[in-house]
Symmetry: C2
Subunit: 233 residues, 2 copies
Amino acid sequence: MKLQKETSSSDRGQREHGRWYDDACGTAFGLEILGERWAMLIVRELLLGARRFSDLRDALPGISAKVLTERLESLAEWGVLTRKTLPPPAATQVYELTEWGYRAEPAIMELGRWAALSLRHNPQLPLSAVSLMTSMKTMQLPALAQAPDMAVGMAVGGEEFVVSIRQGLFGAERAPVAGCPAVLRAPAAPPIAGALYADIPLEALEAEAGLVVEGDRALLRRFIGLFALPPRI
Amino acid sequence: MKLQKETSSSDRGQREHGRWYDDACGTAFGLEILGERWAMLIVRELLLGARRFSDLRDALPGISAKVLTERLESLAEWGVLTRKTLPPPAATQVYELTEWGYRAEPAIMELGRWAALSLRHNPQLPLSAVSLMTSMKTMQLPALAQAPDMAVGMAVGGEEFVVSIRQGLFGAERAPVAGCPAVLRAPAAPPIAGALYADIPLEALEAEAGLVVEGDRALLRRFIGLFALPPRI
DNA sequence: CAGAATCCCATTCGATACTG
DNA sequence: CAGTATCGAATGGGATTCTG
């Protein structure tokens, strides 16, 4: 009965992951699932729909293929996401959040909302298209609840999104921008973030950052005015 | 100007912490501060007021002195908490959240609320007194908003808390239990968690888990009925 | 006792190279 | 494109020690 490699504290932890918090608190359990490096950011990238392995690599500057593979496996085991093989001819694989995975959105957003309060937060760093879209949800000003309905298209790199305000509620989804009364196109997310959060005039971004404005420019300006970074602490 | 140990990707990241997400998203910045192992649980333990080094060690089963020291330093650098030296005669040191640190509470709670949805969450693990108190905030049922005002004392190990409902709002604070119309005493948090979340009768816990009930038992039963684990996914 | 400092080892991370 | 394989570096955890 004498074991050499016993886990010493019996099997109080839930798995043989190696390091467990051994704590009934939901937060501790959440950290076991989403607390490893990159895990929460992978989930963030999936909040607006399924993505391929290489989409995730591109969206997460600095993640290695090894860690991405490990996290996807672990998150799939935990039931946060599933791997799906698309039907032919595009027989490629995508990763998609489960219903439970999608419900992590409030936790992810609250963490971002909190961190953005810091003076040391640097909003000038690179930004993925998805995190731009989700950031808008947390950076909406109270005036947005009274704003008239509107829809703005955003074409960021190769991805297209429609951002809408309906009955005072913000929404963002992957959808073709065609048909939107106003469209912002940019080679990447930062120019659009500059317009939304750094109050850089659209004209400056068109001249210097490759931004392209199509359609109702006045609508865009009203729209941009509905978002701002919070007062810093 | 030729450096050997250059950080290679210029200084895009905000510090020389070694590993940075290099991502403008607030969530990424939050993870740089609270995403390292144990960091968020340390903040959780401070949500109900300042604690000493050894209090934190006791509350976080499994953390090593080394890691606790490192995290406290890092969190202090980031401005999440401060170290204070209590005035003599008790010239000991305590760690206390800054105003910004306290504002992390919603993020920590949302993560816990999300994780508790999982079937694989094990609420039977050890639990600190503080995480019991904060868990109640996330596990309150809608009926709590209509409940009459009440206050319940909880003496857990050597710590005393008063949990209150005032105008339908939940509150928990470190305060003497004396004067509360009903008091639960237990050697540790799990028996109280059993009463709240596993519907174990008070009498069984008194007989087997060292629970002591003082005062208005009917009030306690009503109180306990206002909390429950969420339906699992 | 509070807590900082050290040493050692296992695990994890990150970067590069490689494969089907 | 979607991962594997490999290896050096950094981090985490535990034990021990030192100090006041």
